[in-house]
Amino acid sequence: MKALVWHGKQDIRYDTVPDPEIEDGRDAIIKVTSCAICGSDLHLFHNLMPGMKPGDIVGHETMGEVVEVGKDNKALKKGDRIVVPFTIICGECHQCRKGNFSVCERTNRNKDLGDKVFGHATAGLFGYTHLTGGYSGGQAEYLRVPFADATHIKVPDSMTDEQALFLSDIFPTGWQAAVYCDIEPTDTVAVWGCGPVGQMTIRSAILLGAKQVIAIDRLPERLAMAAAAGAIPINFEEESVIERLNELTNGKGPEKCIDAVGMEAHATSSVDALYDRAKQMTMMETDRPHVLREMMYVCRPGGTLSIPGVYGGVLDKVPFGMVMNKGLTIRTGQTHVNRWADDLVRRIEEGQIDPSFVITHTTGLDEGPGMYRTFEHKQDDCIKVVLKP
């Protein structure tokens, strides 16, 4: 089959690879009908996440039709149309039973490695380094879904691929980020980053009734898309984020701050941003935590910092004293997709939201490597890429 294969920094190719096969009774194999490039795929593309190996198939936003089912898998049958959550879950362990699916205790087959690096391993993830199991990703014609009897979201016939695909990651990720804020109708929610996760976060915060939602980015097309939903845009290259946020909150700061940026903040004019770039370039720091610093500074005392943005390792000069003294709450983590999936399917069906709004580019899988570059350089007003194998 054909797949997008990681060969190194900024080097992804459309390669021929062996077809996947059933390896366990709980597995299923799907014929991929749609998959997407995620912002966190760019962290792999930039080789900033440890644990990738040349030859790894990338991609963790995938859906398709079941074409083969393992003998122990009673939940799926051939022909079922499913979205594949990016977190692989067993559905049976202590964490899964608590709904903490992204830290499933059984699905990371490189648990020893995960334990060493993170203290305790997290769940297996599709196409996202050997620290999370080294599973093949879904930017491919076919995908083996391990633990598929638990790791799936069935898609109603009424829903298009474009409406359903983002249940795999960015929609529940944005939703979880907003839910983690315990939004009250008097709240101002500030969202840093208007990429795909940021866009979903903004809409989730609006649906959950925030008084005002503020969108922070530097790209006009992303801010325009955020404003289309009713968010107040701040272009950080044109105005001071701190001053504007204080102005919009009578000097008190937003109650809820959401970091939908993560480890590759693009701030260019601040001293800390230059410091981070220099340290990251010389491999003395893994992440550029400008957004975290800014959130910690501007957040209202007693407020909440919700962090769906991906961080990979060691962060420098994070002012934790602000967090402690202002009594801020931090909530973060990879998304527990299946905790939210049924509810979000219902919301799409009821017409509360149509996640397909975020798609700006649709191409064949063969053009995927080029689309990584288009997405990376924010060319062609690219916000979200869907690939059709």
Binding site: K9, Q10, D11, I12, R13, Y14, F45, H46, E162, E184, P185, T186, Q199, R203, S204, I206, L207, L208, G209, A210, K211, E221, A224, M225, A227, A228, A229, G230, M281, T282, R347, G351, Q352, I353, D354, P355, S356, F357, V358, I359, T360, H361, T362, T363, D366, E367, G368, P369, G370, M371, Y372, R373, T374, H377, Q379, D380, D381, C382, I383, V386
Partner: protein, 176 residues
């Protein structure tokens, strides 16, 4: 909502010839920098700059810095810094032309080599800028992409549970 489809084909490999050239220049820069740092005397004799060891050591540090940058995900500014460094090198090497015999000949050869590399650096830097320019491609209008089928105005709070929504509304009335 209909997704837009691109008219132009994208390549099936993400790494371009320009990227590879930039990386090769990065490794070359690091190699040259190490040579200037650890063996400035030998390098000086080879390019007609005998007795300028300290200058060459400083240039070595510069070359290594530019090389590390050229290997990063954003090599363009570092390739341009190499161009600036090339011009500095040419100016320094020109002093060697004042010498006699072999030193003068070596300086002339070095100037020719640096001039050739300068042209490559300029070509790669320009190409990187062109390939990575955000201006490439269409400008699109996303002002109609609210994502809320019933409209943005009706969406606010529409996702809260009904009972909670009533309570929440009362709270809002009190606090505003």
């Amino acid at each position: 909502m209909e997704a837009s489809t691109l008219a132009t084909a994208r390549p099936d490999k993400s790494l371009t010839l320009t990227d590879r050239m930039a990386r090769n220049l990065g490794w070359f820069s690091i190699g040259l920098g190490i040579a200037e740092l650890v063996a400035p005397g030998k390098v000086g004799r080879a390019v007609g700059l005998d007795g300028q060891e300290n200058v060459l050591r400083a240039y070595g540090v510069r070359e290594i810095g530019a090389g590390v940058g050229a290997l990063s995900i954003d090599p363009a500014p570092f390739i341009w810094s190499r161009v600036a460094g090339d011009l500095l090198d040419l100016g320094t090497l020109a002093q060697g032309l004042k010498g006699q015999g072999e030193a003068k000949r070596n300086a002339a050869i070095a100037i020719g080599a640096v001039a050739a590399i300068t042209l490559i650096d300029v070509a790669v830097a320009l190409s990187l800028g062109k390939e990575r320019a955000r201006e490439r491609g269409e400008t699109r209008d996303y002002s109609d992409r609210s994502g809320f089928p019933s409209g943005a105005a009706k969406a606010r709070g529409a996702g809260r549970p009904k009972e909670e929504k009533k309570i929440a509304t009362r709270e809002l009335e009190v606090t505003t």
